[in-house]
Symmetry: C2
Subunit: 246 residues, 2 copies
DNA sequence: TTGTGAAAATGACATGGGTCAAGTGTATAA
DNA sequence: TTATACACTTGACCCATGTCATTTTCACAA
């Protein structure tokens, strides 16, 4: 098989895979891709609301969402959960296990979900040899850190309107980035999850969605969202972040 | 010079250095330590309220606080800042620059402050050769991520009392970790900064400090804090985090 | 020692969004 | 087709915390 054919085959196996961000771009050679590809465990399928890991579980490696959606969250002893992040197809999670080789938070599916895993030990070994892969891993971790920082700004300084608008814009831009419509999409998470992510009450989410609709900014039917006026939506967060969104 | 002597000398140069966490422990060999030590730029001293970097600045590498204190923060366009983290002597900051090779947030001193820097490119080169150093870097990044997650839980789910109590306990345990008293210490930051970190108003910080004092939990005089009853203080956050503190 | 400005504390008041309690819709199963 | 349960919505009420105005304290300079 020629190098080109090999590349094509590998690309097919990873192209729609959520780890593609990690392994495909940035000029890795065919051989390098092949090496990494060998270690990736092929997709597993899970039902909605299935726990993937919880605090204390051993850290195996990174997870990459292929379809569906995953939430990661911490809880108070009283049960309230703070959702740390939503992970859509093409996105990575599981990084919370790196510090102590065991996870610190929960991860569970929000929908029928499939994902790949890449064992951290293998990834680390490859990193020793592949400078470009190392850079990719740094960028991945840096991205997580920057997302967390934006979330801190949201939770600490934004009003409820601003939070919800920021949330919609974030989902929109992430769908766009993956080649889907940025103005018409299905939310993979419940109102409850949105509330827990934004640090507000479910009732507030309902009321604000209603208010946004009355202003003609969006049209919302259950989980179907249509953004009717992107400018107005952007206007709601105009004073929030100095830098461009993630 | 014998290997032992060399080790001793290097240890002296890094022992009290904030990067010691990164380079000294975990069985690096004398030679490995020496290699890393060569790249570390020796301390710079800055006045209080001096900006170290701001969004858009080129990312050079990690910073390690030797004395004083540093805050990292994001701002809204209207000027409110959300403090992302306080960095005490022995702690690292600057990781926000990794994703795009430029910083996303501000960093500035809160006090007379000195710090070392380690250029990221050099660190990365060494990582290729030193598996133990690589592990250290992963743990460092994992720690930042886990701290950010705890901060998200605080900002999203805790009441003002719980936030302030959590904050005091965090500072206390970090002083303890560095060998200082966990019950009697000087806060390096202003009330304003505490408020911005906790996502509450300065006035609320004042009122809660007073309330904590009236309950006999702490004694506070300006920036001097004495924790009188650690159990009571811990009790205030009893329902907050499931897992142990960071 | 006194003067000056910033930080912190205090008091009075306002309100965003939480809480509680019904309702309404919708998807799945019998 | 109807029953059931759960997600979501809506309304009424209220409280923790923000906002604004004022006073006090402290650090430092003259």
């Amino acid at each position: 098989m020629s190098q080109v054919q090999l590349a094509k085959q590998l690309r097919v196996s990873c192209e729609s895979c959520s780890l593609s961000e990690l392994c495909l771009p940035r000029g890795l050679t065919v051989q390098e891709i092949s090496q990494l590809d060998d270690y990736i465990e092929r997709p597993r399928k899970l039902d909605p609301n299935t726990q993937i890991y919880q605090p204390g579980d051993k850290f195996f490696g990174f997870y990459a969402v292929r379809s569906g959606g995953v939430k990661t969250y911490l809880t108070k002893k009283t049960g309230e959960q703070q959702i740390l992040g939503f992970h859509l197809p093409g996105e990575i999670f599981g990084l919370d296990g790196m510090e102590h080789n065991s996870h610190r938070c929960y991860a569970s599916t929000m929908d029928n979900t499939s994902y790949c895993t890449i064992p951290f030990e293998k990834l680390d070994e490859l990193c020793a040899e592949l400078p470009d892969l190392r850079i990719q891993v740094y960028k991945l971790l840096g991205h997580e850190i920057n997302c967390d920082h934006s979330h801190q700004l949201l939770l600490g300084q934004q009003t409820a309107h601003e939070r919800l608008a920021t949330f919609l814009l974030s989902i929109s831009s992430r769908f766009k980035h993956r080649g889907f419509s940025p103005t018409s999409f299905m939310l993979p998470m419940s109102r409850h999850d949105i509330a827990c992510y934004l640090g507000i009450a479910v009732e507030t989410v309902s009321r604000l969605f209603k208010s946004f609709q009355q202003q003609g900014i969006v049209k919302i039917n259950r989980k179907q969202v249509d953004i009717l006026n992107m400018d107005l939506l952007t206007g709601l967060v105009a004073n929030c972040e100095e830098s461009d969104s993630l």
